[in-house]
């Protein structure tokens, strides 16, 4: 070891006691499976979001003060726009590399939420949320909500026509909350729509409050992960009592940094080549203008679709009104996200499984959970489709009325069918006893004389024999 290294390690260790911790960290074991990288993609998208976001913050003006646009984009020259919209136009057309940063930021946001959702699906379908990881499930679901909040607030900042309509709808949704809706809306928006404070408030949420919470919870999420160690798929030599995999240094570090660079590469490519949110085409927000067709970012699509599918039922009870918006946009997300948040405890009520689990389930071996998960995804998928009913209407040359009717029936029927089909496929796959993921899997469980159990790992050939279906 070189003199300099030795001295700096000594310096740090004598003051912070870092040596044993660092050594332990370098030796941390990571199980090797592609699906464990989904969460990392979310983390790395967040890194890209922070870097591009800080850049954008230097140029963005969170103000609705009216200015006259006099930039290089001729169709809007002379138009009265807000300072917020004007600054986004400047970022897009005048700041060098500004458009690349803006588009990469937007794409990274889409990938961020998408990778969180897919990561969550992996955790759900493999039962990785079971004891002792319920707490981290909770943290993860909160992170999803924060990511959605970040996405929506960021998307609204340019004060363009499309996002302005999104805000208008969000305003209607908060108004639809029973009893306190009016007050909540006025406190949140600062008055009747379009209150002038809303853009500066969204900005504070987007660059301060939500990122602080998000980064804090990411820290908690990772700390719990380190503390509890990773889960792993059952396979030869992998038990409930060990972790089998590659060490942080060098294997996992190389892989993770490689993935970070790759994520960044893909996002930069999208940001450079794939146009996203061209606010100059939508134009500045005017409360009496509207674009058509109008679609939000993909992760809000289900909510927009839910609003399109919703029944025209408003209620008046004792003179008070419950809006038709309440059912699809307040009650439905409340219930759906409530079930998602509490899933580890809901499942435990039925399975009565209180044991610690570090080995993952294969989705086929838990057909009820897999079926429920698939049905839930189907609900969101149908709503997402309905969110684009006007686009499909044009593409398929079918009226939006027809599409809406079909999807309304689909929403009632498809989840049930999805559950049954998934359940049936899982049962079938389970019966084949095929283990495509790990050929050499298998342990033999035997009772010891004193009443305990011991597991004996099987050699690959032996395992094959053991698992050979009798029917064959």
């Amino acid at each position: 070891m070189s003199m300099v290294t030795e001295r700096s390690l000594k310096y740090l260790d004598e003051r912070l006691g870092t040596s044993s911790l660092a050594r332990k960290t370098l030796r941390k074991v990571f199980p090797d499976h592609w699906s464990f990288l989904l969460g990392e993609i979310a983390l790395f998208s967040l890194v890209v979001l922070i870097f591009t976001g800080v850049f954008l913050t230097f140029f963005y003006t969170p103000s609705v003060q009216e200015v006259t646009y006099d930039g290089p984009y001729t169709p809007l020259q002379g138009a009265h726009v807000t300072a917020a919209f004007d600054s986004v136009m400047r970022i897009s057309f005048e700041v060098r590399a500004g458009l690349l940063m803006r588009q990469t930021h937007h794409w990274a946001a889409l990938v961020f939420v998408a990778s969180i959702v897919i990561h969550l699906c992996r955790i759900f379908f493999t039962g990785a949320f079971r004891r002792p990881r319920e707490v981290n499930w909770l943290v993860g679901v909160l992170l999803l909500f924060l990511a959605l909040g970040e996405g929506f607030t960021g998307y609204s900042l340019p004060d363009d026509l499309l996002s302005g309509i999104g805000l208008r709808i969000f305003y209607a949704v908060t108004l639809a909350i029973p009893i306190v809706g009016t007050w909540v809306t006025y406190l949140l928006f600062g008055g009747e729509f379009p209150a002038p404070d809303i853009i500066s408030r969204l900005f504070v949420f987007h660059v301060m409050l939500l990122p602080a919470l998000l980064l804090g919870l990411v820290g908690v999420h990772l700390a719990i992960l380190v503390l509890q160690k990773h889960t792993q798929f059952p396979a030869h030599g992998k038990t409930e009592r060990n972790v089998v995999g590659k060490r942080l240094w060098p294997e996992q570090t190389f892989k993770s940094v490689s993935l970070l660079l790759f994520t960044t590469a893909v996002l930069a490519l999208l940001g450079g080549l794939a146009q996203i949110n061209p606010v100059w085409q939508y134009g500045p927000f005017e409360p009496f203008d509207v674009t058509s067709p109008a679609q939000p970012d993909w992760y809000i699509g289900f909510l927009d679709g839910a609003l399109r599918l919703g029944p025209p039922w408003d209620l008046t009870l004792f003179g008070f009104t419950i809006s038709e918006v309440f059912w699809p946009a307040v009650l439905f997300p409340g219930i759906a996200f409530g079930i998602l948040t509490l899933w580890p405890w809901i499942e435990r009520r039925f399975t009565r499984d209180r044991a610690e689990h570090h080995l993952l389930d294969r989705p086929r071996d838990t057909p009820v959970r897999t079926g429920i998960g698939a049905a839930g995804l189907m609900v969101f998928f149908i709503m997402f489709l309905e969110g684009g009913n006007d686009i499909f209407g044009v593409l398929l040359n079918v009226s939006v009325e027809t599409i809406t009717r079909i999807l309304q029936w689909g929403l009632l029927i498809a989840p049930i069918v999805t559950f049954l089909v998934t359940y049936w496929i899982c049962k079938g796959l389970s019966r084949t006893r095929l283990r495509p993921a790990q050929i050499n899997a298998g342990v033999r469980l035997s009772r010891t004389p004193d009443g305990g159990y011991e597991t004996v790992s099987l050699e690959p050939a032996e395992a094959e024999e053991e698992l050979e279906p009798a029917e064959r």
Partner: protein
């Protein structure tokens, strides 16, 4: 800390040496991998330098994106090749440590709490109660500034700037007179002095004579039986109802496709909206300019809790 320390101490050394190549000499495949990683890094260097050229030449979004992608991607590919082919990939088995401190540990904490917290708090029960009271009062008081965030809603959602005698103008503030909008045409209008006001936006539609099916008291607000005005704010989620199909005399909200029958009091006949668009009663002054006879009879826009009370 010591617990997990032991955990990593108990690494199964046998399995580390058992799996993966250990030899120092490079195999042919490794030499090939090294070459490929080298090429990827060289490409990354070229792309990185290319970015300088593009930036100082004035910048070009697409080229910048591609060069960034190539630079990051080449770097990433090289590290990926390194990870997969050039490292002694050793599978390591680590024992898990117990997460729980066990019954004894919990007992010890319980005892410690009883011994150290109990005496501090227990002997001064009155003070502790006052402490809780002070904390609660202060906590609630600290929430008060939240109320500064918005005005009290009051009746603001139930009224618009339209008044009896408000002259009708377009978004530029130009007065709108009878027959200015052609038959089957429509125009977004506002009360004079409130051009662009979000809650006052109103659709003035010039319908064909005799096509309206409204009760007499509502026809009284339709000059010549052809100039009908409805709130432009969708009663569903508040989007501007911007599309008008003249042949079927229906208004369509582009956000969620609620459809309203103009001839029948703008009642919704398809989609999620539950309430008709409120009608603005219109009249004509001496100069043939359209004027409002009053505000909308119902609150405009999306529903809220007390919309039907105490107006």
């Amino acid at each position: 800390m010591t617990d997990s320390d032991q955990g990593s101490e108990r690494v199964d050394v046998d399995r580390q040496t058992e799996q993966g190549p250990t030899g120092r000499e490079l195999t042919g495949a490794q030499r090939k991998a090294e070459r490929r990683a080298g090429i990827a890094l060289a490409v990354a260097i070229v792309a990185g330098l290319g970015l300088f050229v593009v930036y100082f030449a004035g910048g070009q979004t697409q080229v910048e994106g591609v060069l960034f992608a190539v630079a990051f991607g080449g770097f990433g590919i090289a590290l990926g090749i390194w990870a997969n082919h050039l490292l002694d990939a050793r599978e390591v088995v680590e024992e898990r440590h117990e997460l729980t401190s066990g019954a004894a540990g919990r007992q010890a904490l319980g005892d410690a709490l009883a011994a150290e917290v109990g005496p501090v708090i227990g002997r001064r029960s009155l003070l502790v109660k006052l402490l809780a009271g002070a904390g609660g009062a202060l906590g609630l008081a600290l929430l008060l500034p939240v109320l500064s965030l918005g005005p009290a809603p009051g009746d603001t959602l139930k009224v618009t700037p339209w008044r009896r005698g408000s002259r009708v103008v377009d978004e530029e503030g130009e007065l709108v007179s009878l027959n200015q909008v052609p038959e089957d045409g429509f125009l977004t209008v506002f009360p004079e002095g409130h051009e662009g006001a979000a809650d006052a936006q109103t659709l003035l539609i010039h319908v064909r004579p005799g096509s309206l099916k409204l009760p007499p008291e509502r026809m009284a607000g339709v000059p010549e039986g052809t100039h009908v005005a409805y709130s432009k704010i969708c009663t569903h989620a508040g989007c501007p109802v911007g599309l008008y199909r003249a042949e079927s005399q229906s208004l369509i909200c582009p956000c969620h496709q609620s459809q309203f029958d103009v001839s029948d009091g703008a009642k919704p006949f398809f989609g999620p909206a539950a309430r008709p668009l409120p009608q603005l009663p219109l009249g004509v002054d001496e100069e043939n300019v359209l004027v409002a006879q009053g505000d909308f009879p119902e609150p405009v826009g999306p529903a809220f809790w007390d919309m039907n009370r105490g107006r």
